[in-house]
């Protein structure tokens, strides 16, 4: 039978705060185990939580970026469960009055553009991290109490590819907004996924299963692909789907039911008496709204409109905020936008990809690239030499003019000097001259190449071409133009 999938995602996002949500412990990743802890995040009896304002602000900013309504009054609740990652036996979260309600994320898959509706965004504390050994499990509380924002989507997604597109779009927006570092290796984004199938054409949703704790976008794709196949097989065989929590097993490429979660859905939420409610004045929210950065879609449109870039260029440039910022700085330093875009998209991005580097780690300054472009534009440097200068700027930084001087790369645009080199090239390559005159157009390139070689790459290629043609075409029978 043909089925239609309904997929919803709960995306846990670690916020880019300096400290934890309810205590002043640093929230940084990578410290030795249990060295960023205190009585609050260890859950000692009687320790009192104090809410980090920045965690609230970043969650509200995320809500504004995603078109949510900001709840005028929101509050915290205790979510009760027993697990070694949470020694208080409850997690402080938000139940019926989250910070943000509604909203949506735009996705595009195979040319089909649509909006995935969001249910809500709430703020909670992250839990400790477990590692498992043969004889037991180890618990590290450094992560416990770091601020976690949970973005809950409606079951609007219909395929693993859409789920992936949703996560990529969400990550791009949140990184643009400075809400999270968005680092998947450090667990900045983690997903629980729910998934159900129903026969094609039936409106009401089928029984769903929940897949826990997927840490990569690719993992979400693989787990959903496997789970949809499993559910279809069960339904095709006349079986029924059990509502349960399943764990994705990377090694076997399949999902398995989790015993520990059998009773997990009765969390007995109740209001957290140790924390006061949050009531955000419209003026506060408005002031935060003013601090919002321009989002990728708006920026792409502006790049097309303001800088006259093709849609393709604009899309490539805005994909990473740092790259878009760099491009604008190059243009701001006086470079023509299309030339700046070409350099950033080809030379800069390719070199970064080859070295697996972030833009921040490279020494090239936007003003230096603008200066390099200016040298090319006014004919003082040809492209091969410019690439050489670019390579040095990328690795060591510096001023293009100084590099050109030091390396003696300035373009030779003196017609007499180039003419002398062309004479020599024609004299030393009679076979090529013959071939060209016999109608082999490619021989012209060889002769131009000789002029470039004799000038050690510094000749203006346009002048070299003219000089060669003037010398070999006066008796030529055909014109290759």
């Amino acid at each position: 039978m043909k089925y239609r999938a309904a997929i919803g995602l709960e995306t846990h996002v670690q916020l880019a705060t300096r400290t934890k949500i309810f205590c002043a412990c640093p929230a940084a990743f990578g410290a030795p185990p249990n060295t960023q802890v205190c009585p609050v995040c260890l859950g000692y009896p009687g320790a009192m939580p104090a809410l980090n304002e920045e965690a609230v602000r970043l969650t509200v900013l995320a809500g504004l970026l995603l078109g949510c309504r900001i709840n005028p009054v929101s509050r915290f609740d205790r979510k009760s469960y027993f697990y070694p990652d949470m020694p208080k036996n409850y997690q402080v979260s938000q139940y019926d009055q989250p910070l943000c309600i509604g909203g949506g994320v735009e996705i595009e898959v195979e040319g089909r553009r649509r909006t995935v509706r969001l249910t809500r965004i709430h703020l909670e504390e992250d839990v400790a991290k477990n590692t498992h050994f043969a004889g037991g499990s180890g618990v590290d509380f450094n992560r416990a109490g770091t601020p976690l924002m949970e973005i809950v989507s409606e079951p609007d997604l219909e395929s693993p590819a859409e789920a992936m597109a949703y996560l990529q779009a969400l990550r791009q927006i949140l990184v643009y907004g400075g809400i999270t570092a968005g680092n998947l290796e450090e667990g900045n984004l983690r997903c629980d996924v729910n998934c159900s199938l129903r026969p094609e054409g039936r409106p009401e949703l089928g029984v769903k299963t929940e897949l826990k704790n997927l840490n990569t976008i690719k993992g979400v794709f693989q787990a959903l692909t496997a789970e949809i196949r499993r559910q279809a097989q069960v339904l095709d065989a006349g079986g029924t789907i059990r509502q349960e929590t399943r764990r994705w097993d990377d090694a076997s490429g399949s999902t398995q039911a989790m015993r520990s979660k059998e009773y997990a859905h009765d969390y007995r939420y109740f209001p957290e008496p140790d924390l006061l409610p949050v009531a955000l004045a419209p003026e506060t929210v408005e002031a935060w709204r003013q601090s919002l950065p321009e989002l990728p879609a708006a920026r792409r449109a502006r790049f097309e409109r303001e800088h006259g870039l093709p849609a393709y260029d604009a899309g490539v440039l805005v994909a990473e905020k740092a790259v878009a910022d760099f491009f604008e700085a190059v243009v701001g330093a006086g470079a023509p936008p299309k030339a700046a875009s070409n350099w950033v998209m080809t030379d800069l991005l390719r070199r970064l990809a080859e070295r697996e580097m972030d833009l921040g780690a490279c020494r090239l300054e936007p003003a230096a690239l603008a200066a390099l472009i200016a040298l090319v534009e006014r004919g003082a440097l040809n492209m091969p030499s410019a690439r050489e200068v670019f390579a040095e700027l990328f690795d060591q930084g510096g001023e293009p003019e100084a590099i050109v001087q030091r390396r003696g790369l300035a373009q030779v645009s003196d017609a007499d000097a180039i003419g002398a080199l062309a004479d020599r090239a024609v004299r030393e390559n009679p076979a090529s001259v013959e071939a060209y005159r016999a109608g082999k157009a490619a021989a012209l390139q060889h002769l131009i190449g000789q002029v470039m070689r004799l000038s050690r790459g510094k000749a203006d290629p346009r002048l070299a071409r003219e000089a060669i043609r003037a010398r070999i075409e006066d008796v030529a029978e055909t014109d290759d133009a």
């Binding site: 400290t19 412990c25 185990p33 499990s137 180890g138 520990s260």
Partner: protein, 99 residues
């Protein structure tokens, strides 16, 4: 509003399981009765007309008690480990967790 019969349907054994408590049959019967008494009080409250009264989670109308995002001191590892029955390489060691 739930009927009194529904309130009585609370399953003491289930609640005990959620709280990780093991009850003997006598204890289960005892707590079932005690819980019903508590719920009877709730039923009395339900008789009050609270139309137009805002539900309250906190007695005082205080909001937005925030802390600035400034790092403070943390607890020394020795003090943390002193509260752990077993540790290894700074980690608390617990019985192997079943997923």
């Amino acid at each position: 509003m739930e009927s009194k019969a529904e309130v009585e349907a609370i399953d003491v054994r289930y609640v005990a399981h959620l709280a990780r408590m093991e009850l003997t049959d006598e204890e289960a019967a005892l707590y079932q009765a005690q819980l019903r008494h508590v719920l009877d009080y709730i039923d009395q409250l339900r008789e009050l007309d609270v139309e137009g009264v805002e539900p309250t989670a906190h007695p005082s109308p205080v909001f937005n008690v925030f802390r600035p995002d400034t790092p403070g001191p943390t607890q020394p590892l020795e003090a943390t480990e002193a509260n752990a029955p077993r540790t290894r390489a700074g980690l608390f060691i617990v019985p192997r967790i079943v997923e």
